[in-house]
Symmetry: C5
Subunit: 366 residues, 5 copies
């Protein structure tokens, strides 16, 4: 991560605010962000024989497609129009509480039954290069249709669209429950690249840790820990909700699709485990960082001690022979008048230095 | 947090004492705090057609409203009058143990059945600016009425009152169970702003951590950890109790209201997760603080070592030529009599300094 | 905690030994501590109409009371007489295994069924001023009687005795199961003051932590951690056992008493949570202590570094002009012969000092 | 622990190797350690009326005893003879998988049903003075007999033998299930003294920690942590297995013996809790050790700082007046020519020292 | 671990990449690594009477063996040919989702039912000398056959092959479910040597820790922690899946084989516990390392302090008598003119040194 990128991510984190539920508001109230883009309705109607796609559909067209095809997928991108959302809700008989959850942008992922219908809230992860960015995606599976709601256009559904268009695999021959599975599956699988990116970056940090234990590495690890926490919060509840749906037969999910959903549930479990192991790695790295810093400190201290321990006795000797005692008296520093006093002093100092070096060598300090 | 605010919060923490259960007291004993304000009874009676509100109701009036309207909400603020509380308890057939719990100000949140009636103890959070402040609120849901008990007037119920007055949403067309849900829901949602405040403050602390690792930051984190612990203790049991009520059909909660309660249960789960992630953040910040302090220490030590390592050899040289050996003898410090002895000594010292600087540069200390 | 008090508590901890179960001993063997006081039998027989109390009862008297009153409470204080204990066991048909558990002083708290009879082992906490002191109390609830066994007289039962004597509340009108509940409830509630004491002491320690991070504080926290561990071991199993009894209908506990027991179960849960939050606080305090010590160390190191960094260059200058180069040669230290050489040297040193102070100020060290 | 004892334990730890299961070996293969002693068969046959004991029994004798007595206990010590083990296995209809588990010396403790028969693997702890030493003991409870397998003679069964010989308690009047209980109970109770020994040693370490924070203490704590881990691995699975057996009625365990087994299960729970609390203590001690070391470091650093801070300014003063400026010029160090120059310098130094001491006193460093 | 080995392992870690699931791909898509070797089909057909083995079998041969023998084992090594894999899938009626899982090389271990058939994904560990290396192995148990898929030839199945060839034990007389058990059992048992290797290496590290607390030890521990994490991820899910299969009767696993599988499940539990205890050991070692480093630092600091504390006063004395006060004035340093001034100064310095040494001895620093 480059320095300004790190700065950028920190700023971004600060800007994003959780939309708090309005205390005491009547249930079913929609929370429309005034800055949100107006919804764009992309519709697919298909059967085993044919497919019809409309990138920006009107409500009237929608009715026609619903009547004509056994499976209809309405993809709503952007949540900025209360009227339109309510109209869609009525047309597809989406429960008001479900519709409210669609507009709350920080819902906990869940799978809820409303009668036979299944309402899914999941969290979708965006391109990880500039920090993990998580958006909510809601799916409503009714009788012969799936309505998906996104805040922003996500590329994660594109492969599913391609499969519908080109009739790849089974998708065109199966019902709406299979479509809901396919969408949920791509949302879940979209988390893997993010974790891989984080894993690689952690490895990079680990390699640089001993070379240069800077506190900046800590900040980066801290950011990754937060991202991992977000991903865990996005996946963990989904895992539990999927397990619950798999245990309870009935509802709109056929026995056959259930088999596929089991695969998706498996992936959520795998993701949770990956997140946990990445988080453990983060904690290990923090410990390693501390140790590397301690080790550096030890090195610095050792050098200081060596220098001080060698030069303090030497300076003492020079100080000794720098005293001004009256050398007339024979007891007062006779060395000063020796013919080889100076070489003797130098020799004395060399002896002291040598002795200390031997001592340090024995203590394995040098 | 300003310094005196921090001080203020610490003092406040110290003053607040848990009212301990009186050992061996007969069950059903009410615990009346002599300093508590006398109860004020605010009553709403309503049906789909009309609503009647009395800000300070008498017991006689209460009977009249109960007879007239299908749903009656009695809101008791202040718990300082045993007689009155007992009278209310008898009139609404509240079990003595429930009434006792109402007056114990540090009950664990719970949902309990007394026959068909439902007794709810929750904890309500107040304006977070001056520290998280938590009060108990009790709800008793009987046949056609809800009685709520609070120690202090809380603004958290005001939006519900407004919805009743203005018939916003479904509230006026539904029974007492829906009212109980609406009240519990506002109590739960009232915790979100507190967590947001704590989250923001933690972010502020994090940003200042590397700039200035003062122990005061630790104290602030410590206070937040305590607040988060209190919030968790206030929410966690509610989550479990709600899950239990949702699993068991029957009682006064209709199937339809159960759907709404599921939403509230969801919010408690989300709150618990937020608390946990904030607490993890706190722990990370403590680690970061430690690291920042270690890093500073390292910096200080490096400067000390550099200075000492450079000047000790230099001082040794000056000491050397400050010795008083008799320079009459040619072996004794001939340098002193050299024509350029002084420049030579200066040069020697410059060489030593240069060599050391190169050494430090190689060790990446400077 | 005063210093000698701390010492006293440490000594006390050392003296108290767990009585180990004798390996391979035949089950039903009683473990009589030869130093234990002889049992004193205090008996209450009561009905709604009357009460009879005997502070030191004989076995014959006991039979008379049992025949006369619907509820009899035998309180055995002191476990130092095997014959007497066995006689009581036979008279009340207490299972030999239960009787064995009574004499094992470090049983895990539990609620066990022997046929319809209920055997309760709980742990009772004594006055906390001189350290948490925990004793075992066993209750045996049979048909129309409760037998309680204690090692030492505990004040915790006194309020219950008063309620029986003065017919406060419902106690005299209910059966033996209600009495057992009342006794267990006072034992559980008796733990609250201890936790409050610990909580207050931890707060005191916290306030003194930054002022004076002495290792003694660590020792105190360590002692509190141990006490909290003991309390947890005393309460946690009770919580689980109570939950189990509440789930299973039948036995001697009537439906009505079950409602009251639910309250006691609630208190055990609350106690466990308090213990856990106190323990978390302990851990935080240990961290804070470490940080406070690190901070102090930083302070000390900074002073050392400042002093050394200022005076080492100055001493170098003085050493420089203390050298004995022959100033006859004009290149050798001409400063020494300058008219204002000394003021120049002083000025040089002032400049160095000033420069360093500016540098430190910029680094925010002073 | 004496130093050489510590060394001895470390060496011992290194020598002991886990016998790994042979990959892909056919199930039912016996793992005979060639160095293991040949089995010695000690048999008890008993009824309420009589008992017969044979210290080294032949297989023929065994058949006679089995026919004569309602309960037969065959105690096999040493597992070094495949033929003999297989012969015993056939005679008592022990499942080959159970027999294989008997010879695997590092089985996880478990209670397994083979039809009605019960196979128990437990772990037995030896005299703790020279380190916790754990051996496997297997019990096979069939119709009217118990076969126990041990690697080495353990004293833990001796009290049970005594009870059979002397008809202490109920043991002679009950069936083989009671015998199995009695044996398992002594194995479990045999762990208590070990934990007491560890607890006492930890206390000893704790007391010495502040006096002398040597790294050797860490090594000792580390060894204890390992021992505790081994004990936990030996007890934890037994606890779960016992709970399972107690929940499921049927098999060879009669209702009455089940009551006694409940007691044993209780003891395993208590042991697990003791182990956990000892392990927490270990962790606390490691923290305390770190703190004690930090505190010592602080002390050392403070002394260094005090000395350096006092003597550096003093040395500077002496250096100052040791300069050789030409005192002919009146501006150059006039102090040197003062009549009381030396006393003045001494006074100056005393002032500096005094000032610094006051400063340190204010900072609470001395 | 030698240094270059450590480097090698680090490089290897970096090279290995998880094959990410392709987002939105149609379920049943096979992921064929273009570099993977082409599959080699090794087949065993056997009954109690005979066995036929083909090291490189054609599909036609396969049909013949399937018709002839009651049990057929097809072992597919290498997954580099989509056509062939699909052909095998059809011939043995392997569900497309199962076949997809076979080709995903980083599946979570699991046991899944497809109708009556059982699909097992496990993870196999390779020779631990050059780092833990984990491969996926999939088993498909159908009616009378087992198909196993491996990426690389593993030696772990060789003993099973031998048992089939030589009719060791029961394997030839039992059905395909017993074969599946035998294969899974060898995979699980193959993990034990790896953990033993890690355990031994950790012990080696522990012994060297106090002698030389180098940060390299930390890196090694970190690598082991990662390996342990991988092993745990490979075993933990298997443990849960096996427990589930053992609880649910029915499917292709006969009651008798279930008894053997219980043994394998036991081994997975034991492995998980070993991994956990090794991981705890790793954490302890990190703590020990930190302590050893702190202790070394303390030692270094003490030496520095001793030297500085002794020589600073001495240097002060020499500086004192090196001052140039005019000794004409009697008050100015009369010592300089004393007859034994120099011996007096030496004596003074010896006194100071002696006093300090006594002080240090009392403080237990030397």
């Amino acid at each position: 991560m480059a320095e300004n990128e790190l700065e950028g991510r920190k700023r971004k984190k600060r800007k994003k605010r959780v939309t708090l539920p309005q205390i005491g508001a009547s249930p079913g109230t929609l929370f429309i962000d005034p800055d949100a883009p107006r919804p764009r309705l992309r519709v697919f109607g298909y059967s085993a024989d044919g497919v019809e796609e409309q990138a920006a559909c009107s409500l009237a067209e929608l009715d026609r497609l619903k009547a004509k095809y056994p499976v209809v997928w309405l993809d709503v991108v952007g949540l900025g129009d209360e009227q339109l959302l309510r109209a869609i809700g009525e047309r597809f008989q989406i429960h008001p509480l479900a519709l409210e959850d669609v507009t709350h942008s920080h819902q906990r992922p869940k799978l809820e039954r409303y009668g036979d219908d299944l309402f899914i809230v999941a969290r979708m992860v965006f391109s990880p290069e500039d920090g993990v960015d998580i958006d909510q995606v809601s799916l409503f599976l009714g009788d012969g249709f799936v309505v998906s709601f996104q805040q922003r256009e996500a590329e994660v559904f594109e492969p599913v669209r391609e499969r519908i268009r080109k009739a790849v695999g089974r998708i065109r021959t199966r019902g709406a429950d299979y479509l809901a599975y396919a969408l949920l599956d791509s949302v879940v699988d979209g988390v893997f690249p993010v974790l891989e990116y984080v894993g690689n970056d952690l490895e990079r940090i680990e390699l640089g840790l001993f070379a240069n234990p800077e506190p900046r590495a800590l900040e980066e690890i801290q950011l990754h820990k937060r991202d991992l926490l977000s991903v865990r919060r996005a996946i963990w509840p989904l895992r539990d909700a999927l397990a619950l749906v798999l245990r309870e037969p009935g509802g709109r999910i056929t026995e056959d699709t259930r088999l596929y959903l089991r695969d998706t549930a498996d992936h959520t479990v795998q993701l949770v485990e990956l997140v946990e192991s990445h988080r453990e790695l983060c904690n290990s790295l923090v410990d390693l960082h501390m140790t590397a810093m301690s080790h550096r400190m030890n090195e610095v201290m050792k050098v200081l001690t060596l220098i001080a321990t060698v030069f303090m006795p030497l300076s003492f000797v020079t100080g000794l022979y720098g005293m001004n005692f009256d050398t007339e008296h024979p007891a007062n520093m006779p060395e000063l008048r020796w013919q080889f006093g100076y070489p003797y002093a130098i020799g004395l100092m060399l002896c002291i230095t040598g002795g200390l070096l031997v001592y340090f060598r024995r203590k394995k300090w040098i």
